[in-house]
């Protein structure tokens, strides 16, 4: 399954909830303010770093990273464009954690 998260982990518990419901093999896409979770060296970085140990497919939308000027992304997080997003949706059933 594909899970999408669009909230900042610094002020919202959505990412933490999503992680609790992810099975092994599930994929995470961070978009909108959700990409803030992909920033390296923050108080929330451990969430994604830990997820990568069990679920290596973690993506962040490049357009949202760029818009926010985020250059230092956690190693292992893959950056994709909207076409990549479309491919992920085509490959997996999904839940948007709104």
């Amino acid at each position: 399954m594909l899970h999408t998260v669009n909230k900042s982990p610094f002020q919202n518990g959505t990412l933490a909830s999503c992680l609790r419901f992810m099975n092994s093999g599930d994929v995470l896409l961070l978009l909108e303010d959700g990409v803030l979770a992909a920033a390296a060296g923050t108080r929330c970085s451990a969430m994604i770093e830990q997820l990568l140990q069990s679920n290596p497919e973690v993506y962040a939308l490049t357009a949202d990273l760029d818009a926010r000027g985020l250059k230092r992304v956690i190693p292992g997080v893959k950056q994709i464009d909207y076409e990549g997003f479309v491919d992920l949706v085509a490959q997996h059933s999904m839940h948007a954690w709104l």
Partner: protein
């Protein structure tokens, strides 16, 4: 593959309608079919022709209208629209107001329903 897209938030205030639009453009480019686009909650404000953004900004309602001109079914929920003063008279072309039955059919018929909201 057949996608349906659901948008919950109003234009400009939230990134949801931009994300939805960019997703749809990419899906079309990759040859996928868009079964429909459904606006719910404050999302119904996306399709009013009364919006007049500054000239150097994107015109969100016109963008939806252009997708509608391609033959994509674009629906604003009637219950949500009436609550917020969105009626047929204020719609941009190529968009319609209809019931939640349309959302139901999209959720059933589309291979994937992709939701953008807050």
């Amino acid at each position: 593959m057949k996608f349906a897209v659901l948008v919950y938030e109003g234009p400009y205030n939230h990134e949801a309608s931009d994300s939805a639009y960019n997703f749809i453009k990419a899906a079309l480019k990759k040859g996928h079919e868009i079964r429909g686009i459904f606006f719910y909650h404050d999302g119904v404000y996306n399709v009013t022709k009364l919006m007049e953004p500054p000239q150097d900004d994107r015109h969100i309602a016109n963008r939806w209208s252009e997708l509608g001109a391609l033959g994509i079914d674009i629906v604003a929920c009637i219950a949500a629209a009436k609550r917020r003063g969105i009626v047929d008279d204020v719609l941009v072309p190529n968009v319609r107001i209809s019931g939640l039955g349309q959302l139901t059919m999209m959720a059933i018929e589309a291979d994937r329903m992709v939701t953008f909201g807050d």
